[in-house]
């Protein structure tokens, strides 16, 4: 574990800024959904910010990331602009996918982000395939494959563990255990031990990490990524985290108490923890923190503005991108 002193102050400030960006962005998404500007299924990442921010800091720009429908944050930390993500959510031509995919399906290959997958578990073998390509090309890249603790029961996950282990693929399997799969508390649908141990029988070592502490996430991830990048084969990381909001915007959240949520917010909030450390370590004063908050708010406001101004896709887009015109390939 990292001793506070050893942590690079610039890094910590960056963590703070990124986590705040994700949270403010998602809060704005929630508002806009309420205003009817965003439709369909929409899953917010609020509460889990430390996981993606800490892990992303442990990989390189040319590495790859893939996740589920709960994908806004993963796209943002990879470097997709808030405007391009938000306009995708409003279904406008300025969206990263011209508004054709929406909230669950953000992709940006330019930033090594492979989506954005709506079918639970599907990104796991696909992500291993991205890692397969990295190895096939003899690169030293790695792929972070994110999935939920509910998805961790999917059979394709174990088929993938077996192949990834057999072929020593450079992928990190990251279970974001936010304690709920839709309305189902993890204990109700998962038998046996901790999820991080479910790779052992396939020869995949696993670790459990406090996913609410971005520095812990980052330190643990650096070690894991180094091992995987070095050809050590896949590793399974279980990030213990928590989702503050409903599963999606249409979830009334009757399956847990407000106090349960309050307790986590008060005792473990990833952003509060870092804010406190920044002050306590004298890295940033209130003025500096206010400045970051203001910047982030502005960024998000601009994104929201852009996402509403951007025109709907051209009607001609209905029939494009069904197939790649031969030759383009």
């Amino acid at each position: 574990m990292v001793s506070p002193a050893s942590a690079d102050p610039g890094l910590l400030t960056g963590f703070y800024r990124n986590m705040l960006l994700v949270r403010r962005f998602e809060e704005k998404v929630g508002q806009m959904y309420g205003m009817g500007l965003i439709g369909g299924f929409c899953h917010l990442y609020i509460g889990q910010e430390a996981v993606v921010v800490g892990m992303n800091a442990a990989i390189r720009a040319d590495d790859a990331v893939i996740t589920s429908y709960r994908c806004h944050a993963h796209a943002l930390v990879r470097g997709v602009t808030p405007k391009a993500v938000m306009a995708e959510l409003t279904g406008r031509s300025g969206g990263i996918s011209k508004g054709k995919g929406g909230s669950m399906h953000i992709f940006d290959t330019a930033h090594g982000f492979y989506g954005g997958h709506g079918i639970v578990g599907a990104q796991v073998p696909i992500g291993a395939g991205v890692a397969f390509a990295q190895k096939y090309r003899n690169t030293d890249n790695v792929t972070l494959v994110f999935f939920g603790e509910g998805a961790a029961n999917q059979g394709q996950v174990y088929e993938t563990f077996n192949m990834a282990s057999l072929w020593k693929l450079p992928c990190v399997f990251v279970v974001e255990n936010n304690r709920y799969a839709m309305g189902t508390a993890v204990g109700r649908i998962k038998a046996g031990t901790g999820i991080f141990r479910r790779g052992e029988a396939f020869g995949i070592p696993g670790i459990e990490v406090d996913g609410m502490d971005v520095e812990t996430v980052h330190e643990a991830s650096k070690d894991v990524v180094a091992r995987v990048r070095g050809g050590g084969g896949p590793v399974l990381v279980e990030m213990l985290t928590y989702r503050y909001r409903g599963h999606s915007m249409s979830d009334p959240v009757k399956y847990r108490t407000r106090t349960e949520v309050q307790k986590v917010r008060e005792e473990q909030d990833a952003i509060d923890q870092v804010r406190a450390r920044l002050v306590e370590r004298g890295v940033a004063d209130d003025a500096e923190l206010r400045r970051i908050d203001r910047d982030v708010k502005e960024q998000v406001a601009e994104a929201a503005e852009f996402a509403q101004q951007s025109p709907e896709p051209d009607p001609g887009e209905l029939m494009t991108d069904v197939l790649v015109a031969s030759g383009d390939g």
Partner: protein, 327 residues
């Protein structure tokens, strides 16, 4: 008669059949404590308990196979797919185990199971959550395929599906869950394999299923203002297909339009058109027209999604076409 929502009608059908036959149980994701992702199983856990209302992990392949095994062992599972898109993960068990085992076992092992859940597009849920699987399932012998439109359909057909000794694919529609219509009181069951005539016109036959029946009826009333009176047939059961009712109507109208929410290539429209032509070629005064989804994955953008799915205007235009009034 009482006006209830489709959601309520489905719930009542399950509750009544579970009271009548303790071999019947409900299994799926979020069906118990959450009361159903779309609240279709509201109150069932409270009445029937955890032994008969069973929450599963998110493992469609596994729980579909498990339910099939339970059916082969003599129980009567109702298996809910949160949406039928997720049934793609269970497709091998549905086709190779549920549909084929009766035949392979020479009639020894039957599989009395219902697979139910919302099918097709909802609102803005994009390509992976919007597929209409009707023609896929209907293609396969050994399955029955049902697609209710009204609350009466929902209750009457689901009760028959649960009682049926065969695997039945029961395709609901999320947008229709909240729609209200009259349902006869008491133990009301509708026979599988019989279409309903929702409107009698005589100038043209419009065949549709599920939510497309509503679009067809909308189109029919606007066409009526132009003096075109349409028969609107609600298929209710897609397999076995009630060609008799369709042909009877076509024999009077000579004109046929088939409406489906799904893709046209080898779709239900293709089958209905081919079947009518095979048996009623001489009845037709014009080539049948198919109205289907745009031949693309469903887009998220509001304007594109609206264009992608069949609208009453598209249906009306097709009708004018077959009536030549379009010329």
């Amino acid at each position: 008669m009482a006006a209830v929502t489709v959601r309520q009608a489905l719930r009542d059908a399950m509750a009544e059949e579970m009271r009548a036959d303790e071999r019947v149980f409900l299994i799926g994701e979020e069906v118990a404590e959450y009361q159903g992702a779309y609240k279709v199983s509201q109150g069932l856990l409270e009445e029937f308990g955890t032994a008969r209302i069973i929450d599963t992990p998110i493992t469609e392949h596994g729980f579909a196979g498990l339910a099939i095994g339970a059916a082969m062992a003599g129980l009567r599972p109702i298996t809910e797919f949160m949406t039928f898109n997720f049934a793609l993960q269970a497709m091998d068990q549905i086709i190779n185990s549920a549909a084929k085992t009766l035949y392979m076992s020479g009639g020894q092992v039957s599989c009395p199971i219902v697979f139910r859940g919302p099918n097709g597009a909802a609102a803005r849920v994009a390509a992976q959550h919007s597929q209409d699987l009707a023609s896929w399932f209907a293609h396969v012998p050994g399955l029955k395929v049902v697609a209710p439109f009204s609350a009466g359909d929902a209750k009457g057909l689901l009760k028959s599906a649960i009682r049926d000794p065969n695997p039945v694919i029961f395709l609901e529609n999320e947008i229709l869950y909240g729609a209200t219509s009259d349902v006869p009181d008491g133990d009301f069951a509708l026979p599988l394999g019989e279409a309903g005539v929702e409107r009698s016109g005589g100038d043209v036959t419009v065949v549709a299923y599920s939510i497309m029946v509503a679009k067809a009826l909308e189109a029919a009333s606007s066409l009526a203002r132009e003096g075109i009176e349409a028969d609107v047939i609600n298929l209710r059961t897609i397999r076995p297909l009630d060609t008799r009712t369709i042909l009877e109507s076509v024999s009077r109208t000579g004109r046929l339009v088939i409406v489906e929410e799904g893709w046209s290539f080898a779709g239900i429209g293709a089958e209905v058109a081919a079947a009518v032509i095979a048996e009623g070629f001489d009845l037709l005064d014009a080539p049948p027209r198919r109205v289907s989804a745009a031949d693309a994955p469903l887009p998220y953008a509001a304007n594109l999604e609206a264009m992608a799915l069949p609208r009453p205007d598209d249906i009306a235009a097709a009708v004018r076409d077959v009536c030549y009034t379009g010329l």
